[in-house]
Amino acid sequence: MAHPRLTPRVQRRAALAASGWIALAATAFPGGSPLRWIPVLVFVVLAPGLALLLPQPFGLRPGARLEALALAAPVSLSVATLAATTLFLTKSFSLTVFLGVLALFVTVAALLPGVPLPAATRGAVERDGARSDSARGFPRFRKRRPGGGR
């Protein structure tokens, strides 16, 4: 029976899926300890966004890496805010529920295909063209996609 290969992409997805549960486990450390707040902060600020943007069938194209990096934090914080607001509005907030909901969200999102924002997949065509030029420090023309832009 063939085992799934632990490619870097699979490892990344696994790390993302596990990150929430690690953050939840970290809350067992005493309050204010760096061993507690650092994993929690990193998870809440980055994981939900990365779980939505990172898993692309062919990996992120060069043009989309900056985008995934830049959007990860605001998207993550949005998801966390909506979760926290809903829990407070329904008077059901507790730390375990809050981190548990986020961890579950991240685990599921990490296993599913990422949000197909155009730059993550198709927009990469023109970025590929731009890469070799920009490596020399001179922005040049980008390849135009067939039929694109008209």
Binding site: G31, L66, E67, T81, F88, P139, F141
Partner: protein
């Protein structure tokens, strides 16, 4: 082929690409490695870091006088900032090949500028941050919000837009700390670090020239002096607003709309090609992706959704970004929130629109007060005006002179101009002018950078002159903007830092007052002014027109006694921070606060409860006078 040090790899690529007669002389060994641009960048960064760390303990924030922190920063602090500016300008020469260096310098500048209070202060910086701390603490105590409950001083609005505070409350619990106060002073650094990548994303959409992009980011950081970057719903929503804008300009180009902009010769040499068009399905996916972000903006802040809709509407004026679907989605989410959670304030605001609408001059006035008094606040006022003029002037020059760039980056121009009509609608408690500036800033900073970073490649005489001029103008302007940022951001620090003794006095005074008491203070701009705010009513009695304050100063005790409802227990808290604030905001003339303090202290209508270097607490005793 001679061996080449690894550190020179990028350098060599660049040298090959550089035109010019000078053939590179290849050197090997550590001495050569030290002469590389990387080594120079690292050395300058190290020098700046050493100077900054050395200066840090010398920042005398405990004895702030009229110039805020400006005369409390040691020379080494200023030297560190100057070295960072020089280093940044040098990194721009290789911005395209080594983008990590300008990124590092931008992050370093952000930390150098905004981390000192986070590291040094032993209390919450800024009265409004302390107010937000109080809101988060209340949310944690109550476990929920009460959007329908009336709270004095407009505090119920925070229950109607609880998004950001819910996130903070959740983080307080997750970190296992007592209150948001333990991380609150780091918010400007954190928000800055999260905003910069989004800003780069926006700028990269309109320019392929990394020098322009990084200079824009740098100018944005320096011009962002309006102090909305503390732990606040507006600071957070601003990051989300930029996120929506970034996704829109990158992923919402309509097919067949770019027209002449697809022709490279129609573009400025520094401009990026218009992003590829997207199909209806792709745009629908992007709208779905943005819904949580837009919902969070609406759950967190009142004004940002309006600004977002204004910007999206402005973008709809272009053929390239005519996406009514997204505009309608954003409008619907705003309407739903305003008619459900935010109903009370929304209907209230609609009621006042009739009197405020059209009052352009009134709505663009900063605050209620008169002109700030004293050399410190006056310097801050002048620095603010000069900053606006400098950034606005440079941006306007670039829009006029680099019309091709303005045409391809039209969305940035429109987004910068979209908030302007807000002046016609509302004054937002005297804050509108700062908010309009803030929302106009991303576009303004980009074009200000375009004025300072001319395109490479053009060989005309004018282009050569422009390049030579800006080689001098760029560092000079960046230093000038830095010189403008510091008084704008730190010039009123006397208002923003309160020693622990003062906050302890304030909390004691509140704890002493019975439930439902009226607590008077000259202004609400002091730490802990909203401590346990749902238990008391507050009256910040100088926050009104200056003429009325001058009338009040003739007989302060009688004036205050006249405003206290009969039978209501009332206390007055006067702290040194309030003294700074009433002068800084121009509520009272110089010496007015001392007059007020002495008059209340000596009046038979008020009894001294506590007096010391950290403030004065008085209790109202109505029967004594009669």
């Amino acid at each position: 082929m001679p061996s080449q040090p690894v550190a020179e790899g990028r350098e060599a690529v660049e040298r090959e690409a550089e035109p010019g007669p000078a053939a590179p002389r290849r050197r090997t060994g550590p001495a050569a490695a030290l002469r590389t641009p990387d080594a120079l960048n690292a050395a300058l960064l190290l020098v700046a870091a050493v100077l900054w760390l050395w200066a840090l303990p010398g920042i005398d924030f405990r004895s702030i006088e009229e110039f805020g922190l400006l005369d409390r920063f040691p020379l080494a602090f200023y030297a560190a900032l100057a070295v960072l500016t020089c280093g940044f300008v040098l990194t721009l020469r290789r911005a395209g090949t080594a983008p990590l260096w300008p990124a590092t310098y931008c992050a370093a500048m952000l930390v150098a500028l905004k981390a000192p209070p986070a590291i040094l202060y032993d209390t919450v910086r800024y009265a409004w941050a302390s107010k937000h701390d109080a809101i988060i603490s209340r949310l944690l105590t109550e476990g929920t919000v009460h959007p329908g409950r009336e709270l004095s001083g407009g505090m119920s609005a925070y229950d109607q837009w609880p998004g950001f505070f819910s996130l903070d409350a959740a983080l307080v619990r997750a970190f296992g700390v007592d209150a948001a106060a333990s991380f609150i002073n780091w918010a400007p650094v954190a928000l800055g670090l999260l905003t910069v990548p989004v800003l780069i994303l926006v700028y990269r959409t309109f320019s392929d020239d990394w020098r322009l992009v990084w200079t824009g980011v740098w100018i944005f950081q320096l011009a962002n002096w309006v102090g909305q970057d503390y732990l606040s719903p507006q600071g957070f929503s601003y990051l989300l607003y930029l996120t929506v804008f970034a996704v829109v300009v990158r992923h919402f180009v309509l097919p067949g709309s770019a027209g002449a902009l697809r022709d490279r010769s129609a573009l400025d040499p520094a401009a990026a090609s218009v992003p590829p068009p997207t199909t209806t399905r792709q745009r629908a996916v992007a709208v779905l992706f943005l819904v949580p972000v837009i919902a969070t903006i609406n759950a967190s802040h009142q004004l940002t959704p309006v600004m977002l809709c204004a910007s999206l509407f402005a973008l709809c004026l272009t053929r390239r970004y005519r996406n009514f679907g997204l505009l309608v989605t954003a409008g619907l989410i705003m309407l739903v929130w305003n008619l459900t959670m935010g109903r009370e304030l929304f209907l209230d605001t609609l009621g006042t629109l009739r009197e405020k609408a059209g009052d352009l001059l009134g709505n663009s006035r900063p605050g209620f007060a008169g002109d700030p008094t004293g050399p410190g606040p006056e310097l801050v006022g002048s620095a603010n005006v000069l900053m606006v003029l400098a950034v606005g002037g440079l941006a306007a020059a670039a829009v006029l002179l680099r019309r091709k760039l303005a045409r391809s980056a039209l969305p940035l121009v429109l987004a910068a101009a979209a908030p302007l009509p807000m002046f016609a609608v509302n004054d937002y408690g005297g804050e509108m002018i700062f908010r309009v500036y803030l929302f106009g800033l991303p576009g303004a900073a980009f074009f200000a950078a375009a004025a300072l970073v001319p395109a490479t490649g053009a060989a005309s005489r004018a282009a050569k002159i422009a390049r030579r001029t800006t080689a001098v103008a760029l560092p000079v302007t960046l230093v000038a903007l830095l010189a403008g940022f510091l008084p704008s951001y730190y010039g009123k620090e006397g208002m923003h830092y309160a020693p622990p003794g003062e906050t302890a006095l304030t909390r004691r005074a509140f704890d002493r007052a019975p439930e439902g008491a009226l607590v008077l203070a000259a202004t609400g701009a002091f730490a802990d002014s909203y401590y346990r705010y749902d238990h008391y009513e507050r009256w910040f009695f100088t926050e009104q027109e200056v003429d009325e304050n001058l009338r009040m100063l003739k007989d302060p005790a009688g004036y205050l006694a006249g405003g206290i409802p009969a039978g209501r227990p009332a206390y007055v808290i006067l702290t040194p921070t309030q003294g700074e604030a009433v002068i800084g905001e121009g509520y009272l003339p110089e010496g007015g606060f001392d007059t007020l303090r002495e008059a209340l202290k000596s009046s038979p209508l008020f009894a001294v409860v506590e007096e010391g270097p950290y403030g004065l607490v008085l209790r109202y005793r109505p029967t004594t006078g009669g």
